[in-house]
Amino acid sequence: MKILGLNEKDSRFLLIVIFLTLATPVLLQPFPEGSGMAQFNAGYPDLMQRFAIFGIFAIGFNILFGLTGYLSFGHAAFLGIGSYAVVWMYKLLDYNVIWGLPLAVVVSGIVALGIGFISLRRSGIYFSILTLAFAQMMFVISYSDLFGRFVGTTITNGETGLQVYGNDPQVLLGATEPSSPHFFGIVMRENFWTPQFGDWQFTFNNGYYFCAVIAILAFYLSLRIFRSPFGLMLRAIKTNQNRLNYTGVHSRPYTLAAFVISGMYAGLAGGLLAAMDPLAGAERMQWTESGTVVLMTILGGAGTLMGPVLGAGFIKYFENIFSKINDNVLHQWFAWMPDGLEDAIVWVLHFFVGKGWHLTLGVLFMLVVIFLPGGLVEGGTRIWRFIRGTDRKEKTADATHQPEHVAYVAEKEEF
């Protein structure tokens, strides 16, 4: 079966992704309410929305980093720009996200064009530092609302974050219109179905499905790009730019296009953040946030289709679920142990969970970079090969850090 101009393998892959995305509210809610494991449920709207949104962000980043190898440390800037664009549309027009989202994509695309045009004149770490410098600059400008101070009206509302106030113009606001973000009356924060089966409770949220549909489109687009001549050229840039140039290809427009596309993805993700939650905070532009999307991409597997999405989900899960395991919870878990042993185990573990989740993340990330350069996707592939007993010498010895080929297997079999 072939759909949407994809070959059979990719069509099947896309269908699986669509299914997984749409079934997320059920899949992420495996434990009954009230059970000790309920803590690990992740099927609540905010986190699911974040999975989808940061999935989009990471997919876009992967188009730049995974394909061309250009490591941008400033992508969070586009995230912020997207958010600001959407919130400004709320303030000026109304709460319908239809105005803001396209604007978010366009504006971040334009800014990416500017930053990319300058930064891509350099490569390697010079490129990384240039993007970092641009993004940091935009972060401080937003955090202290410097731009606003320059023009005499607030633009970013500083560290409090841009939000809608009662006295904003909102010229299109109708009398019966919802007073929170919506898409032609479909209110993002509302749930359209909250079924309960025994102790299992599921939440089907408008906002999540809105994000999910966009995420699927974004994924489909990236799949097309991966399979296109454009994608091939980008991968060629990563492996040997010199040869590519002597093959008659001008690499800069390609990298610039990749940079702009990934900037637009980031802008879209930022716009969606504001579409789910009508506040745009400056912190989302900080360089550590750019670092987070790098972590996501690497953790999942740079250059693979599914890897960045997995990485994004993984980190967001850590941030929201793992960080909530406090000492009390640990003591409950290990209450069956003898007192001394229990205390010892809890003492060790508490460095890694709850407020120590950064430490776990850091250790995990190092392990992935050292032992699994292809990220979780490569890990999955290795396990799959091991189970199937396929000859492991074939690819794993190859340290070239490029798992596109293995990706297929993982893409098919990961779930």
Partner: protein
């Protein structure tokens, strides 16, 4: 190291904490219930949203300790603390409205985004009926806005910006902590007495919303006693080295330096100002002085000896001698072995106030709680008689002017109370220009 490390027995007593026995989250729809997350079981869940990572993690940890204490007291465990001295006697030590109090914790990371995400997860996943916490104004304003939209009550923790109950005030949000205007109003007379009315002030101000409002408040208050303001320099929030901002101060003709900084910024700028020897100098024939309008015990600790003799203000201090304070300090000190910070006290008080309001209103419905809290007069939680003003949901109570103590006996003894500024002196009209522009709106029960 400061890690909450209770023994197992105490834990088992605390009982239905975190994971277990949560109310079913009824997220935002509430077709069946009258308001968001109406508790249906035998427990009610509160969400404690404090910084656990990032630069304010220690403050968050202290707030968390106070929350745990409050939960114990509400559930009738421990010695009851300030519940015994609280003027309202609605709380009986059997939870809230007969329901046992459970809680969830979250990490704000001192970022508006992360704080909102964490609060949302508490509301959507854990069914929290009330969110409380925060140790910076940006976070408080962001989370307050979220709670207003979601239809739960927000009991702010440490937030000092005028905007929280000014430009950004919300019907579902309540602030017990004092604000920048009050700091100015309380400090000005003390500064007048100590340093005279003929002074020239030089402001260094952290370049973000809180810094701006505090600077404006202090400038207005000090100019009210006749001081001149020589200069106001905004410093980047990421600064760690303030030398280039401090060095020109002496030569500007100023004889007082006002540091509108908080947290790490304040520790560094104060340390460096002292290093520059500013306080050893005579300018205009007067001893040069430094003022830090907003103090926190933890930051005072971080600045070490540098705060000796420096004036500032706090919301509360464990050195107060009223009954409420003594009761709270006793149970906190017994449990943890050291005295609480003023951030801890404010969140403890907020938790009791919320519980009491629910008891008095007879419901967890946010609108009922708002009604019960608006205009509520109480005493016995520290700071003397206190009013939750209906017009902006700001608490009015005595404000403390503190001074860095010489020869502190230990790290908890860094500050001493110079004056307890009576409530009347720090009050202002709800439409005061520094607080104008906001709209409380209607209480939102979410359903």
């Amino acid at each position: 190291m400061s890690i909450i490390h209770p023994t197992r027995r105490r834990l088992l007593q605390t009982g239905a904490v975190a994971g277990a026995g949560l109310a079913m989250p009824m997220v935002f729809t509430g077709a069946a219930s009258a308001y968001t997350n109406e508790p249906t079981g035998g427990t009610v869940t509160l969400g404690f949203n404090v910084p656990q990572t990032g630069p304010y993690a220690e403050e968050g940890a202290d707030e968390l300790r106070a929350y745990l204490l409050a939960v114990e007291h509400l559930n009738g465990e421990g010695d009851g603390g300030a519940m015994n001295t609280f003027s309202s006697k609605a709380l009986k030590g059997n939870g809230i409205l007969g329901k046992k109090v459970a809680y969830v914790t979250g990490d704000t990371q001192t970022k508006s985004d992360a704080a909102r995400a964490s609060a949302k997860s508490m509301i959507e996943k854990d069914g929290a009926i009330m969110i409380t916490g925060g140790s910076s104004s940006g976070v408080a304003v962001a989370v307050q806005g979220l709670c207003q939209e979601a239809g739960v009550i927000f009991m702010a923790g440490l937030t000092h910006s005028n905007d929280t109950t000014g430009k950004d005030k919300k019907a579902n949000g309540f602030r017990h902590f004092f604000n920048a205007y009050m700091s100015g109003a309380a400090l000005a007379p003390v500064l007048n007495n100590a340093y005279g009315s003929d002074r020239k002030a030089y402001h260094l101000t952290a370049d973000y919303t809180w810094g701006w409002t505090q600077q404006a408040s202090i400038q207005a208050a000090t100019e009210g006693i006749g001081w001149q303001t020589v200069n106001n320099v905004l410093t980047p929030l990421a600064s760690t080295d303030f030398s280039s901002y401090i060095a020109p101060v002496l030569n500007s003709g100023a004889d007082v330096l006002v540091l509108n900084h908080y947290g790490g910024n304040m520790v560094n700028s104060l340390t460096q100002a002292v290093q520059f020897g500013l306080r050893d100098k005579m300018v205009n024939g007067k001893q040069f002085e430094i003022v830090v309008p907003l103090y926190s015990e933890l930051m005072a600790k971080g600045a070490g000896k540098n705060i000796e003799g420096v004036f500032g203000s706090t919301n509360w201090s464990w050195k107060l001698q009223d009954e409420g304070t003594k009761a709270f300090v006793k149970s906190f000190g017994t449990k943890y072995g050291f005295p609480p910070s003023n951030a801890a006290q404010t969140v403890y008080a907020q938790t009791l106030l919320y519980a009491d309001a629910a008891e008095r209103a007879g419901t967890f419905n946010p609108c009922g709680i708002v009604e019960a809290l608006e205009g509520f007069e109480f005493d016995g939680l520290g700071n003397g008689p206190t009013l939750y003003r209906a017009a902006d949901h700001q608490c009015f109570k005595d404000v403390l002017v503190m001074q860095g103590k010489k020869d502190a006996e230990n790290e908890y003894d860094a500050l001493e109370i110079v004056e307890v500024t009576p409530r009347a002196q720090v009050e202002y009209a709800p439409d005061h220009p520094m607080f104008a522009g906001g709209d409380l709106g209607q209480c939102n029960p979410g359903a």
